[in-house]
Amino acid sequence: MLFLVNIIVAGLLAGLMYALVAIGFVLIYKASGVFNFAQGAMVLLSALTFVTLNEHGLPFWLCFIITVGVLIVASVLIEFLVLRPLVNRSPDTLFMATLGLSFVIEGLAQLVLGTDVHQLDLGIPDVPLKLYGLQVSDFDLFTAAVSILLVAVLALLFGKTRVGISLRAVADNTLAAQSIGIRLPHIWRIVWSVAGVVALIAGLLWGNRQGVQFSLSLVVLKAMPVLIIGGFSSIPGAIVGGLIVGATENLADIYIGPLVHGAVSDWFAYILATAFLLIRPNGLFGEKPIQRV
């Protein structure tokens, strides 16, 4: 019984880690209706920058600030070189552009910062506290707190505020948004920068777990089903989706895996996500598309 509880708890905690990556996607989706494939590359870029600076002996906070600076510069460049020339193009095209972007970012990150594997130690103990036999560590609690804080802050920032409304307006109808003077470049720079910071946070926490290396950019694949279940446009949805995916995936690996001679978590989350969509075609919290005739 305790074992089962532990598996579920571990899954939930893992799910929060997925959610951290997923939130970055949600932000950009909300602002442009685009699935940003480059988010994984952003996670890699930010963690690599941070670690490299840290290895040069800079203090933690300074590394953080400089990395955020780098991400903001990157956002400005992306807006100027990629998004602006592609304004008003179909989401497919933009999705494609983000794929191209991910090549560029990954290449650049490796070119400048190297392909080495780095250790990243945030100094938070990752040893279980053994609370009532539960396998929960300080690090887990920290992750959970960060995720919840992040969701709260972002929900406030992008909720009913001016930025929030402008953001959704842009995603809804760029032409109309332009016609009333919303500055698309401005909005995009803000959103990409915030998404960059989210990527940094995700990168640090994941990097602490698995080391900072290229594979960080692959966590995207884990974020996909989370996003789908939560709904592409909902920040709280990312958290709920993360929890669902994390918990069920672990259970599936342990209880279904042995029946089929293999690890099932590769595909399990996607089948689950499909099942969810059959019931709620726009995810748990996603916005319904509106099309009146």
Binding site: R162, A169, A171, A176, G181
Partner: protein, 257 residues
């Protein structure tokens, strides 16, 4: 006509293309004096919408662009200016065909129109109330998402949203489309009122020639991307030939009575 100083908006021999091949405007020149109401007339495909979008620089969306000529506003060229910049200069367009933010509520739609001026909460509310006064129908629907509204209601939202920006020059593309006669009247009353009381300038593309010439000071008639006739509204209205040729049998009977 082009007396210096009073001119606010001038288009000088503007040519524009879509997708590098369709020549939609072939040298359009026109002038919109400050404080006037100017009508842009013409059959389907004449280039009315293209002209308006060229001014607000929203052609890029449909892969069109201005290839020749100049557009200036208060003496300065606004050609190729970022659309948001154009709006900042006080030029706001209501697009043809009800472009609302479908997922935003009516209230949010209206609010978004006002953002540009960075008003306080209070002011925003007051401005919104003014719109609700003009279009009571919207007040009932203020928390409904705009995408679910009826066609006419959406048109009201689009116009209301543009009004929230308190433009100096308003470009209206077929404002009466899909609106009930009563509301059409209301809209033209608003236009007249804003023009008279606040000096707002209007450039209207409109199919209902009789109606618009009733309110306008001046009219330009487009055909195949060229200005073929222009003149004082009154003169155009009197010209039976012109009315009959472009807009059917013409005459006063066109306004339902």
């Amino acid at each position: 006509m082009s007396q210096h100083g009073t001119d606010v908006l001038t288009l000088d021999n503007v040519e524009s293309v879509y997708g590098e091949s369709v020549l939609a405007l072939q040298g359009v020149s026109l002038t919109v004096p400050r404080g006037s109401i100017v009508a842009l007339l013409g059959a389907n495909g004449a280039g009315k919408s293209t002209t308006l979008k060229a001014i607000s620089n929203l052609l890029g969306v449909s892969r069109g662009r201005v290839i020749r000529g100049d557009i200036s506003w208060a003496g300065k060229s606004i050609l190729g200016l970022d659309p948001a910049r154009v709006v900042r200069q006080g030029i706001v367009q209501v697009l043809e065909g009800r472009h609302c933010f479908a997922h935003l509520t009516v209230e949010e739609n209206l609010a978004s129109g006002g953002f540009l001026r960075r008003p306080g909460r209070r002011e925003l509310r007051r401005d919104a109330d003014r719109i609700y006064d003009w279009f009571p129908r919207l007040k009932q629907k203020r928390h409904t998402r705009a995408g679910l509204l009826s066609g006419g209601e959406q048109q009201m939202v689009a116009i209301g949203r543009a009004l929230m920006a308190k433009p100096i020059l308003m470009l209206l593309d077929e404002p009466s489309m899909g609106l009930a006669p009563m509301i059409v009247e209301e809209i033209f009353d608003i236009i007249q009122q804003l023009n008279r009381d606040e000096g707002v300038t209007f450039l209207l593309a409109e199919q209902n020639a009789n109606l618009v010439l009733h309110y306008a000071d001046h009219g330009f008639v487009l055909e195949n991307g060229r200005v073929v006739t222009s003149g004082a509204a009154e003169t155009l209205r009197q010209s039976q030939d012109f009315m009959a040729y472009y807009f059917g049998d013409g005459g006063q009977a066109a306004i339902p009575a």
